[in-house]
């Protein structure tokens, strides 16, 4: 019994040393990993804002409603770090799996652009969401219902699983519209 306990203690000590070692390595690599991830996100955002290097990014991840993963605010350093643009990372249930989107909004609440970062479950039925134009660019996010249903719905509702798939995409716009209304009071 005593021997068993001592063996357990040896394992515990080894585990603690390993944990400490991992903490040290994490201390040095975590900032580099975070910087890499931010750089990759900035490259994705460049499709919406080619002059993205002129802004300071600020990521909001806390106190967000279900479905909104994060909000990236692009702050303008030449204008007292005022919010110049906002990019919402959202997800919603589509056809079988989540539809993950980035939706870029300007300060006048028009949709600057949107991109699909995950459309699992749509490729198998022969349709890639990123190839579909939902016609939302340049429209007001606050008028999502009218815009989505009239501009996007009519063009693609006849394709196979469209209702289920559209629900996912539509819901992404709904989530962003609700959040924008909350943030900007419009």
């Amino acid at each position: 019994m005593k021997k068993g306990l001592t063996s357990g203690l040896v394992l515990l000590i080894l585990g603690s040393i390993c944990g400490l070692l991992l903490a040290v390595v994490n201390y040095f690599t975590a900032p580099v990993i975070a910087a890499n991830e931010l750089r990759e996100k900035m490259e994705t955002f460049r499709q919406f804002y080619p002059d993205i290097d002129a802004f300071t990014p600020d990521e909001i991840t806390e106190n967000l409603p279900e479905g909104i993963d994060s909000i990236y605010l692009l702050l303008d350093p030449t204008n007292n770090n005022a919010v110049a643009h906002a990019i919402y990372s959202v997800h919603s249930m589509g056809y079988k799996t989540d539809v993950e989107m980035l939706i870029a909004i300007d300060t006048d609440l028009t949709i600057k652009g949107y991109a699909f970062i995950g459309t699992g479950g749509t490729e198998g039925i022969g349709l890639n969401l990123s190839a579909v134009d939902f016609g939302m660019t340049g429209t007001l996010i606050t008028a999502w219902a009218t815009n989505f249903d009239t501009r996007a719905g009519a063009t693609i509702t006849s394709i196979g699983d469209a209702p289920a798939r559209n629900t996912g995409v539509r819901q992404c716009f709904v989530l962003v519209a609700e959040r924008v209304a909350m943030d900007f009071g419009r």
Binding site: G8, V10, L11, L14, G15, L22, V25, V32, I33, N36
Partner: protein, 233 residues
């Protein structure tokens, strides 16, 4: 066994992949480019050398060995997992593109039979230096094996040889060979079936060579015996 023999045994005689058929899962999955194979080889080298060293260190002292042996499997797992997570963090920080390409096969090094096998079969019964040399030889033997597989697959499947593509692009375009032959690169070699075929053909060649060598040795021994018995008569 000399240190040189200990180091070299992992390359051909006791090659973990081609002779013991260990670590086949990553070997078949990630060998689509030479770059992937080099990345995986370096990761396995780091983990195997250090895991052998640590396992040897905790078992070399008789008193500590007595305490560790009843819980040796969890101890090995803790040590190996720690090393793999360190590799994972370093790769994610400094070679993120390669890290993404290798994907789940980096964390899966924890359950790689070569690592665990060498810890249990060799490092736990040998001195630290011998264990490190064994680990280095085995890991380099494994790296050599997956590099051979990836070389065949990449040349035949994509018509390129990619040494490094992060930043400075070190790759060789061999499409002119395919153009000369009037064919396209064979896409199948980049798919799992191509991995199995390449692995199978290499194993068959090695088996044929080994059998031929054994046959030759047997014949020589028989001749020597016949000659010897002739002299005796």
């Amino acid at each position: 066994m000399t240190m040189k023999e200990n180091f070299l045994k992992g390359f051909i005689k006791e090659n973990p992949l081609f002779v013991f058929v260990l670590g086949t899962c990553p070997a078949l999955a990630i060998t689509t480019t030479l770059e992937n194979a080099i990345g995986m080889g370096v990761a396995v080298l780091f983990v195997l050398m250090l895991s052998n060293l640590l396992v040897s260190l905790v078992t070399v002292n008789p008193k500590l060995r007595e305490l560790v042996m009843p819980v040796r499997i969890p101890v090995y797992i803790v040590l190996i997992a720690t090393l793999v997570v360190i590799v994972e963090m370093l790769m994610k920080a400094f070679v993120p593109a390669l890290y993404r390409t290798l994907g789940v096969f980096i964390p899966l090094i924890v359950v790689n039979c070569i690592i665990f096998g060498r810890a249990e079969a060799y490092a736990s019964d040998h001195k630290p230096l011998e264990s490190v040399i064994d680990g280095a030889g085995m890991a380099l033997g494994f790296a050599m094996a997956i590099m051979i597989i990836s070389l065949f697959r990449e040349i035949l499947g994509a018509g390129t040889i990619t040494l490094w593509s992060q930043g400075a692009n070190l790759s060789l375009d061999l499409h002119f060979i395919f153009e000369f032959l009037g064919i396209e690169p064979i896409d199948m070699f980049l798919k799992p079936v191509g991995a199995f075929m390449t692995f199978g053909v290499i194993m068959a060649v090695i088996a044929a060579a080994t059998n031929a060598k054994a046959e030759k040795a047997e014949k020589a021994a028989k001749n020597a015996k016949t000659g010897q018995s002739g002299v005796t008569k």
